[in-house]
């Protein structure tokens, strides 16, 4: 019995500690900055005032739009490239391809901090020739993060469960290899695509270091850059900033609550 009570007490404390910052964020978003610093834990009446301040002073709309554009295009491209590759590695398996696959996996060991400097210089060179895809463009943010060995690995693992007879049936029906992939493989693998899409969208939406390096003008800012910028202010308006963070967190929170199962599947897919 004592063990029972301990379990509930411990888990309740863990749950409260985990949720508390979110609740505090929501409460603070409805309060004036002074009240937040006074340590209020009650909802206030300044939600409307904070909202109109955001409309006047913070470029939240453009940042949300930039983030949406970047995250959506990253997700679509990443899913396409990684699933094609995962499918190719598993269905057309050969010794040579397995070697290539293992070499690709090595890229997971490379920390982004190590890539940041050479990538910045590469895009610097590109800027001189084709400014449209160089520094300070959306393309420069998207390109380096669009292909990850993790996602290729994820799709290869998922393809292992795929009933291969279905592909053969498609070929007999006269589909070419591209047709087999898009007409038969993609529709059957919906759950894997959903899991991969959530993971990719989230990490792209939350990506900070590379956009910080490559996006230089304020109007190009993504949501994390905007929040970071607000956070580093010396005299922050706590209520306003908390409302910005709240709004910026909503898209990922909604995706999480709607698709919790896929989310966990996408995360643990690598160790199964």
């Amino acid at each position: 019995m004592a063990k029972r009570i301990f379990t509930y007490v411990f888990l309740s404390i863990a749950a409260i500690v985990s949720i508390f910052p979110f609740i505090w964020m929501i409460i603070s978003a409805t309060n004036k900055s002074v009240d937040v610093t006074k340590g209020t834990l009650l909802p206030g009446s300044s939600l409307g005032a904070n909202w109109s301040k955001i409309m006047d002073q913070v470029d939240l709309g453009p940042a949300l739009l930039n983030s949406a554009k970047i995250s959506i295009s990253t997700t679509i491209l990443a899913l396409l490239i990684a699933s094609l590759a995962g499918y190719g590695f598993e269905i057309f398996r050969s010794k040579a391809k397995d070697v290539v696959f293992n070499i690709l996996l090595l890229s997971m060991m490379i920390p982004f901090a190590a890539l940041m400097v050479p990538l910045y210089r590469m895009f610097g060179t590109i800027t001189q020739n084709i400014p449209a895809i160089g520094i300070n463009t959306m393309t420069a943010v998207v390109l380096p993060s669009v292909t990850t060995a993790f996602l290729i690995f994820f799709f290869r693992q998922s393809t292992k469960m795929f009933p291969k007879e279905m592909l053969e049936a498609g070929r007999i029906d006269g589909l070419n290899e591209i047709g087999v992939f898009f007409r038969i493989y993609v529709p059957t693998m919906k759950t894997s695509y959903a899991a991969a899409a959530i993971i990719t969208f989230m990490s792209s939406w939350n990506n900070y270091l590379w956009p910080l390096v490559v996006l230089q003008s304020p109007e190009k800012r993504t949501v994390p850059l905007l929040i970071s910028n607000l956070g580093s202010s010396y005299s922050p308006d706590y209520g306003v900033n908390m409302l910005v963070i709240l709004i910026a967190t909503l898209p990922t929170a909604i995706v999480f609550f709607l698709m919790q199962k896929h989310f966990v599947a996408g995360m643990t897919g690598s160790v199964k």
């Binding site: 411990f10 610093t37 890539l115 292909t147 160790v271």
Partner: protein
Amino acid sequence: MSKVKTNMNINAKTSAIGWSFIAIAVIMICAFYFYPMIKALNLSFQSGTGTNLSYVGGDNYARLFKDQTFITALKNTFIFLIIQVPIMIVLAMFISVLLNDSKLKFKGFFRTAIFLPAVTSLVAYSVIFKYLFGNDGLINSLLTNLHLIDAPIQWITDPFWAKITIIIAITWRWTGYNMIFYLSALQNIDNSIYEAARIDGASAFRQFSQITIPLLKPIILFTSITSTIGTLQLFDEVMNITKGGPGNSTMTLSQYIYNLSFKYTPDFGYAATVSYAVVILIVIFSILQFKLAGDKNG
């Protein structure tokens, strides 16, 4: 004869089709991972400001050992590693064992609540923690009101407490994430093993240490490797909570690389050298952790 030839043609054709499926991915990984790493290796032997770089041989690597900021960043990273990663792994494992009880009520609520921090953006939670732990922040007001402290703790501006704040923040963000891996592993353990142990009179502690831990070993290894690599790359939290300060007391290797390239007068060559130090550390740690796990097996 002609049949063999057609077979070969078909094989060559399917092989070509197979390669074309993986071609884009291979090109992209080479272009955005391997090629930059080769460029960085070349850069790491050069020094100078901005684009005025000249070859200096191994000077940058020698400089690492004399560079006080680098040594501090390395020390900080190890402090975070040695203190934070074990606390988090043990906590994640402990919570998942509690959650894996089939008679537990509100299981879904507890699991979702504890996992929730893992969904938040690193920047967003960092800013919230910066506010929570500010001098006039909520944590200080609560502690003062409860008469636990007389004066506000300098959570962000004191070299010691700043490290604690970063450790608390990372633990908050990643414990639930790691817990999910333990939970899914625990669910795969056959319950009859525990029943047999109970019949043999094994205590709860013995069941945990003799059954649960050995069966969870692959996950312990996986989570400690990913957490170690994550800690070696720590950037978003430090950049948004303390900016590496006060002084360099929370400076991490990634923050230092960023500062060398984009904050101070840029020295891309030396920054590349520091990046290679991080890569080498990651490789060493991964090998070490695999070795340790392998030895215990044998």
